[in-house]
């Protein structure tokens, strides 16, 4: 019996040792954490409210709203936590934002939202909010895993004049300072985020492009395959961590 107890303790200890992943929230100051935790303080809720209005608004030639097909937005629980994912109609791996735009152009017959537009970020945040607290669960189909594998290679690849890879900062040096800011572990479990530095909302791709220009590399355009692949890898890397959207970051 005693031996079994020791064995169980060892199992528990090794599980804790395995998962040393920390959400970006844990690297923030207490005041910023409070801002994210409390929906009445979180400025991202302004975007969520806009997204709620768009969810109900009829759009396009079809004159349909999101709600006309999907019903109440609460039914979208568990959707945001599985993106990016392979989409059969598009024939490729798409992000949640791209999926929303596929609905726009396909079902609603309306113009697609511009990347990083207020409307798209609002709808994304509104849909993602429904999955808050759920573990990230990227799908295991071959196409999504292939995108994640390409993303993993990009994550480890040195780029730019500074010749740095994502892994060098976010795997090897997390917790240390970079220009006064703490380097987090780069788990994308709170996007889209309200960033205090931006004084507004932004997508994961905006954040990725920030890092790329930071190391003085060539920055791919929004929606580029490399960025989607990186997103797919980050989702797999953060698999099982709770979705926090809408996040607040310094």
């Amino acid at each position: 019996m005693k031996r079994l107890g020791v064995a169980l303790l060892l199992v528990a200890a090794s599980a804790a040792a395995q998962d040393r992943r920390k959400s970006g929230t844990e690297f923030m100051s207490e005041s910023t954490r409070a801002m994210q935790r409390d929906d009445t303080q979180n400025p991202a809720m302004l975007w969520v409210a806009n997204g709620g209005a768009l969810w109900q608004a009829k759009a396009g030639k079809a004159g349909k709203s999101c709600a006309a097909c999907h019903g109440d937005v609460a039914g979208m629980r568990g959707v945001a936590s599985r993106y990016p994912a392979f989409d059969p109609s598009a024939g490729r791996v798409v992000t949640l934002g791209e999926r929303i735009n596929l609905c726009r152009t396909g079902k609603q017959q309306a113009a697609a939202f511009a990347p990083e537009s207020e409307g798209l970020l609002g709808l994304e945040a509104h849909v993602a909010l429904q999955s808050r607290g759920l573990p990230l669960a990227p799908p295991a189909d071959a196409a999504t895993r292939a995108a994640a594998a390409r993303g993993q290679a990009l994550y480890g690849q040195r780029i730019g004049q500074l010749n740095l890879s994502c892994a060098q900062c976010h795997d090897d040096s997390w917790g240390r300072k970079l220009a006064g800011a703490t380097i987090p572990q780069a788990h994308a479990n709170a996007y889209p985020i309200y960033r205090l530095e931006w004084q507004g909302m932004g997508s994961l791709q905006r954040r990725l492009r920030n890092c790329m220009s930071g190391v003085r590399a060539q920055v791919p355009p929004l929606g580029a395959q490399e960025l989607v692949d990186l997103e797919a890898w980050l989702a797999l890397r953060a698999q099982g961590m709770a979705l926090e959207t809408p996040g607040v970051r310094p």
Binding site: Q41, P43, L46, A49, N50, G200
Partner: protein
Amino acid sequence: MTARALIHMPASAKAGEIVEIRALIAHPMESGYRPGADGKPVPQDVIRGFTCTYEGEPVFAAELHPAIAANPYLAFFIRASVTGTLEFTWRGDNGFAQTERKTLTVSP
């Protein structure tokens, strides 16, 4: 020109109770000191003042300045006295004005 504003407060309170009110409004609070994409300064566009009236009587006011971040958030307390309407008004540059109303039901 209306912006999205979120006001959080209880719908009802007991007479004499202290009630917290939280008001968040979407606004760029452009300081006037930043260069735009073309290198020229972006004209100033800030909310100048916020007032809250309770049944027509001012109970809270704030002055806002260019150093205040975008989407300003204000939290303050009032003492519930009578059932009535709270009126929240933001005023700023370029004729920006927005008013929101909430009702507070007060039980004795």
